[in-house]
Amino acid sequence: MTTTTSAALASPRWQRYRERPELLLLPSLALGLIFFYGFMLWTGWLSLTRSSLLPSDEFVGLLQYQRLFADERWLQALANLARFAGLFIAIPLALGLGLAILLDQKIRGEGGLRLIYLHPMALSLIVTGTVWRWLLDPELGLAQGLRQLGFAGFRLDWLADEEMALYTLVIAAVWQITGFVMAVFLAGLRAVDDAVLQAARLDGASGFTLYRRIVLPTLGPSLFSALLVLLPAAIKSFDLVVALTDGGPGQASELPALYMFQMAFERSRLGLGAASAMVMLMMVLSIALPYAYARARRGAAA
């Protein structure tokens, strides 16, 4: 078996790929170009047309964008996203770092604990959303459990409360993602050179000071990786919203991705949906482009 494989790899046919490895990348590159950038361009074009139920070619300029930013529902979705993203990034970063530092104390059973914290990551957001919807249901769930325990007047109506519904999304999302952030920071902590730590200890640094002055400043790249995952995840949040609140009550917990889906696919406003998708794309790009630029510059400098 091995001989045939290596014989095949040595054949002139394969030789070609060995000399020009980019040929092997070509199919995936072509697929990526068509299905990623191609459809991105198409969405961009649709956002400039009067497309409703089906795509149309009637060019209307920026009309769909004007409609988009005149729509209170979209503006509310953007405001909700700002609140959601802020908490969705800050809380997992703080919690994840805290957990990582605690786990880094060479404690017993670290493997088991790590598994427990990472476990929510294994679930899809639809499952997370459904579980939390049941837990937070005003009539069933936690509230009912506490009432049965004797707290007869206990109410937990966050899902029905226009102010609090968004925070139920934050709770579920934080529960899901914190383990991942912890793992990223833990890897960063483990990467700190022991020699550096020894030297710092020799100089008298310990405990809090050691972390603040020596360890945390080296975690920059970990923080960056975590941010790069969290920010786009916040902007494209969709499944969690659908499963947990469905944007409700009313549109109090709606995020842009849900708006885009409903307009494009449920309400025959394809052009408007495409415009909202383009705005979301620009938000993600405004994060990714500076990062790519910085990397390119660093690459050029090195």
């Binding site: 009067r50 409703s52 139920l53 089906l54 795509p55 209170e72 529902r73 919807r133 249901d137 005003p138 009539e139 109410r155 109506d157 899902l159 029905a160 226009e162 609140t245 469905d246 409700g248 009550p249 009313g250 549109q251 109090a252 409903q262 696919f265 449920e266 309400r267 025959s268 406003r269």
Partner: protein, 411 residues
């Protein structure tokens, strides 16, 4: 040598599509319970009419509509599809069938009420077949619960609020409601119809007359709509309409506004109309002595442009078979609601369905907003109504301003 199997494979893949192109393909989302039974009945009628019948079931209306669009874009459209929008929504973007010969031969203009006969047409050509009618403006109530508190079914909105106040004071949940935006829109429509009447409803919400939408009458209606929320519970979020009906059946809530699909839930639980539960027109919708107002929607199948003369012939035969009086009545009996034909016999229907049918035949009929408005305007109005319901910060004046804006939304 190596290419042959590939060719065969491609051919084999092509063959079913060719065969499928010949059959009448029906795209639908009738996948569960009584809907699946209705589908079986449709299938029987189709086969009896000698039609090459084929089904493309999809779970959920949203997915089905997406698939339908995709199939049109890829050039492989079905011949028939279940429809939850106005016929004109599809008529404006794709070619439809012409069922005029069938409609004339079977006198659809006489056997169907004009509101339905008109809605089946696009640019003068009949392109859809109605299956059954669902009444939307019913107030369902638990009779025993009301009687225990010495109350009668409210016949006007002031009476409704009085009854609800009494129930609430007695610790009973006055109104069960589900979580969907449609449930709230239904309550709003009932308030507007009950206080302003059918003509006001048509002018304000369908023709979107700005002077009425911005007027004091609409403001009062919005206030009353919001007042209804006081009589509902926080458990409404994410609650299905059938769970809300179950609250009535279990005696945990007294009343519910919803369509006549609730009828089936009561019957399944072994409750008898007029003895255990009541179904009356919504407050202010008439019905005592005189015929009540009938606010309704109807299930229909849309026929797309046939591929060839044979398919056109099959489409017409199918349409004729589905509109036969016995077949049409059977669909309604299984699916719930009432038959579309005014000359239907109501054997095997319960008191609620009979009452609904009597009002449908002789009362004032108003077609559902979802079938009368373009999708975008309908959606925008529904958004405002459900946002106003959910928000304790939005004032009735703000809601009215947003409603006025929503009414202007186009495509």
């Amino acid at each position: 040598m190596k290419k042959k199997p590939l060719c065969l494979l491609l051919l084999a893949g092509l063959l079913p599509t060719l065969a499928a192109a010949q059959a009448l393909d029906f795209l639908h989302w009738w996948t569960a319970g009584s809907e699946a039974q209705t589908l079986a009945e449709l299938r029987r009628s189709a086969l009896a009419a000698g039609v090459h019948w084929r089904e493309s079931p999809v779970a959920g209306a949203g997915n089905a509509n997406t698939l339908l669009k995709t199939r049109f874009l890829s050039g492989n459209p079905p011949a028939l599809a279940q429809l939850d929008k106005a016929v004109s929504v599809w008529g404006e973007v794709v070619p439809l069938a012409d069922l005029n010969p069938v409609a004339e031969a079977q006198h659809w203009g006489q056997v169907l009420p004009p509101e339905i006969a008109e809605e089946l047409k696009f640019r003068g050509k009949v392109a859809a077949v109605p299956i059954n009618v669902h009444r939307l403006n019913s107030l369902w109530s638990n009779r025993a619960l009301l009687q225990r508190h010495g109350l009668a079914v409210p016949r006007s909105w002031p009476e409704f609020f009085a009854v609800a106040d009494r129930l609430q004071a007695a610790g009973v949940l006055p109104l069960a409601i589900g979580g969907s935006p449609g449930q709230k829109l239904s309550v709003f429509a009932n308030v507007v119809l009950g206080q302003g009447g059918a003509d006001f409803f048509q002018r304000a919400l369908v023709q979107r007359d700005a002077s009425l939408l911005a007027g004091p009458q609409m403001l009062a209606m919005l206030r009353d709509f919001k007042r209804v929320k006081r009589y509902t519970d926080a458990g409404q979020v994410g609650r299905d309409w059938s769970v809300a009906t179950a609250l009535l059946i279990q005696g945990r809530a007294a009343m519910q506004f919803t369509g006549d699909w609730a009828n089936g839930e009561f019957q399944k639980a072994g409750l008898v109309a007029g003895r255990d539960f009541d179904c009356s027109p919504a407050p202010g919708h008439g019905g005592e002595g005189a015929a009540g107002l009938h606010y309704f929607e109807f299930d229909r199948i849309l026929f797309f442009q046939p591929l060839n003369a044979r398919q056109a012939d099959e489409q017409r035969r199918l349409a004729a078979a589905l509109m036969q009086r016995e077949a049409s009545t059977r669909f309604a009996r299984i699916k719930g609601g009432i038959p579309v034909r005014r000359d239907a016999e109501l054997d095997g229907f319960n008191a609620c369905a009979r009452q609904s049918f009597a009002d449908f035949r002789s009362g004032r009929r108003v077609l559902a907003l979802s079938a009368q408005l373009p999708e975008a305007s309908y959606g925008a109005i529904r958004d405002v109504v459900s946002a106003f319901w959910a928000s304790d910060k939005m004032t009735a004046e703000q809601a009215q301003a947003r409603l006025l804006k929503a009414a202007r939304v186009k495509d």
